[in-house]
């Protein structure tokens, strides 16, 4: 049974400035959504709240498996992930970065090796497995950030402008990976400024204006 996300009239303000204001939406499982909106419109805030990194002031973020609402605890948190705009790579090898999510889930060593190697190949970093991740270029870092999140096959993935500062080649690799992920009936919610990208990913377009979401 796949995981479904429901946003129920959430509001959030920072220092008295409302960023989200009664925002609501029912995400369908297995679909791709592109979140667009001007800078500062609240896309990142929305994604952080959806990914359970922050609490809304009002309203609720709910995850359902069938009809059963899932408590906001580790088992649920391990089925969702957010790719942050600033990756925050660990000071360790590229391989160890890719393996992190598997390691903390207590997965067996040989399975970790196999899965991490496969995902690194998909983002064209297989040749740099042993290199320290902090020496990668910005495009490679971004690719590693996505590989690191997809390696444990989350059911819902939130991506915060994953191709904002990368060249065309990295962009292509990242979009290809997202498409593969889509094909496996996973939910993708991606903040982007690129409408062509939204089209290429065959996504529904959601616009964030005045703290609310509107389906275009």
């Amino acid at each position: 049974m796949s995981l479904r996300l429901s946003i129920d009239r959430i509001s959030k303000s920072y220092d008295g400035n409302a960023v989200l204001d009664g925002c609501r939406f029912e995400f369908e499982a297995g679909k791709t959504y592109a979140l667009i909106g001007s800078n500062g419109s609240g896309k990142s805030t929305f994604l952080r709240i959806c990914a359970l990194l922050e609490q809304p002031d009002k309203g609720a973020v709910r995850f359902f498996c069938g009809d059963a609402e899932q408590p906001h605890e580790i088992p649920l948190k391990r089925k969702i992930t957010l790719v942050l705009p600033k990756t925050g790579v660990f000071n360790s090898s590229v391989f160890n970065n890719a393996a992190y999510g598997l390691k903390i889930r207590g997965i067996a060593g040989n399975e970790i090796k196999e899965k991490a190697a496969r995902i690194l190949k998909l983002v064209k970093l297989a040749g740099k497995s042993a290199q320290n991740a902090q020496t990668l270029s910005s495009g490679e870092t971004q690719r590693l950030g996505i590989a690191r999140a997809m390696v444990f096959e989350p059911e819902i993935i939130f991506l915060d402008e994953p191709t904002a500062f990368v060249d065309a080649e990295s962009k292509g690799i990242i979009e290809e990976l997202i498409s593969k992920f889509k094909d496996r009936q996973r939910t993708v919610i991606i903040a982007t400024h690129d409408l062509h990208q939204a089209e290429r990913l065959d996504s529904q377009i959601l616009s964030m204006t005045e703290g609310r979401l509107k389906l275009l």
Binding site: L53, T81, G88, N91, Y100, I104, Q134, T135, R148, A149
Partner: protein, 229 residues
């Protein structure tokens, strides 16, 4: 004079060798104890918010500069026959020296570990969380990210205890063949006008300090590209 000093070093004089060995034993023992206590304390004050956290951190910072003779005096009073721990008869033993050195090293390890943990980019913690880390795994990830800084903290503390003389002179008593270490011997022999032995030990101590600093520098450089991304 220098020739005689070098002769002492290269002829591996037995007495000299025993003094160096005891120095290393006492310092490393104290360093181990201080690290076992200091790394967790420093990490916790860096990771968790609790009441009096600011107070604890300021206290550790202040204690980093504790005058060794004052520590020596306090340990002396505690261990002396009429003191609260007098029954253990530890005064004028290597154990007493280890205790004094541990007290001196602990705030250095704890305070510098705290700085190292606080210095880890907050995005690391967020990243760990988004990848499914439990609160404990999140904390361990941050501490692991600070590992070079923590190693530097331990090495810095070693530098301090190796060079220390005031506290161990008071609680160890500088007894020949028992509690006599490099620094106390240098002090004593210089006093006696016996410069060759003092100088020989001085050269060795300097070499050890240099080594410690080279290693410290290397560790710090290794941790450096941490700040890049």
């Amino acid at each position: 004079m220098f020739e005689k000093a070098f002769a002492l070093i290269f002829n591996t004089d037995h007495e000299l060798f025993a003094i160096i060995l005891l120095s290393l034993q006492v310092s490393l023992c104290a360093l181990c104890l201080a690290s076992i206590a200091g790394v967790p304390v420093g990490a916790l004050t860096g990771l968790k918010k609790f009441r009096f956290r600011g107070g604890v951190v300021s206290l550790l910072n202040t204690f980093m500069g504790l005058p060794p003779v004052v520590v020596g005096l306090c340990v002396y009073l505690t261990l002396s026959r009429s003191g609260p721990l007098g029954f253990m008869s530890l005064l004028y033993t290597p154990s007493a020296m280890v205790i004094a050195q541990t007290i001196l090293a602990f705030p250095i390890v704890a305070s510098l570990t705290h700085s190292a943990v606080v210095g880890v980019d907050p995005v690391i913690k967020q990243a760990a969380k988004t990848l499914g880390a439990s609160p404990l795994q999140e904390s361990l990830t941050v501490v692991k990210e600070a590992r070079y800084g923590i190693t530097a903290a331990v090495i810095a503390a070693l530098g301090r205890v190796m060079a220390e003389v005031g506290a161990i002179l008071i609680v160890g008593g500088n007894i020949a063949g028992y509690t006599r270490v490099m620094t106390t011997t240098i002090a004593l022999e210089t006093d006696k006008g016996n410069f060759e032995l003092a100088l020989a030990l001085g050269i060795i101590l300097l070499a050890i300090s240099l080594l410690i600093n080279v290693v410290l520098h290397m560790v710090q450089r290794k941790g450096h590209f941490q700040d890049k991304k």
